[in-house]
């Protein structure tokens, strides 16, 4: 079968439109991070299989409602970042992108405050990572995620300054996309940590 010229044109066009968000190197970090967390989830489930009663009892002390609120906060911040990435350098009013990033940062900060409150509640009740294996994983997984979120907030801070520029270069836009993807990674990791550690019984 031979392709008609119009079909060839369409294929070439769709191939040229395929685009790596951010830059290629960043994806080694993102996919590597996902694989590292997948390994930690496997260790968590292995620990759970060995001490099901202990894990079930300890899990019941977690605040599932706050975990759900945190999920919605991260999903909303991700949506605002998608809007900002699409708006930066394009909108007639650059302040729109700035406000979107500030909104996303506010959601991220609210997540941090809720997490600090959760940790405070646990520590006040005498619960620490040394209490038992479940809490070691709870503090370890959520703490490592929180560290990612704080790095993500730092990147969002840089994006906020970028949104103020009247003209955004191709390199700056690629950086914007890459930092946005890192923020989505923070959201994506929580999407698994919350159900696995808080909800699955």
């Amino acid at each position: 079968m031979t392709l008609t010229p119009s079909k060839v044109d369409i294929d070439a066009d769709s191939a040229s439109r395929r685009h790596i968000p951010g830059e290629a190197g960043l994806w080694f970090v993102i996919l590597g991070d996902m694989a590292m967390f997948a390994a930690m989830f496997a260790f968590y489930l292995q620990g759970r299989a060995q001490q099901p009663e202990l894990f079930a009892q300890s899990q019941d002390t977690l605040n599932r409602d706050l975990g759900a609120v945190n999920t919605v906060l991260l999903l909303t911040s991700s949506l605002l970042v998608v809007f900002a990435t699409h708006t930066v350098g394009r909108a007639a009013n650059p302040r729109i992108a700035t406000r979107l990033i500030v909104g996303a940062m506010a959601c991220g900060l609210a997540f941090v405050l809720i997490k600090v409150f959760e940790y405070y509640e646990k520590v006040a009740a005498g619960i620490t990572p040394n209490t038992n294996e479940f809490y070691m994983y709870y503090f370890g997984l959520t703490g490592l995620h929180l560290a990612h979120l704080i790095v993500g907030l730092y990147f969002l801070g840089i994006l906020r300054t970028l949104t103020r520029k009247p003209v955004v270069t191709t390199t700056q836009h690629a950086f914007f996309e890459g930092a946005a993807c890192f923020w989505h990674l923070v959201d994506l990791l929580w999407i698994v940590i919350f159900p696995l550690v808080f909800l699955v019984r």
Partner: protein, 91 residues
Amino acid sequence: MPSRVQTRATVIWLVLFGATAISWTLGAIDGLGVDQRIAPSVLILVVAAFKVRLIGLYFMGLREAPLVLRGTFEGLCLATGLLIIGMYLLG
């Protein structure tokens, strides 16, 4: 006037929000026997894998990425999903 990308992202956010509500409701059911916990828990994990894929494709923009990158992401999601659900069921 929102662009097509923004409208699509908003629809995805609504789906993700709805999926979170379903998981949260399933996770909040108390008083189930050990065997009765399995089905809701597996459903929660399947919903999580579905949400991760949506975030990758629509928020990270992998839907329009080169197929190698999109395929690696989707393969990793599938492998992680199967690993977690398999270990949950065996544990």
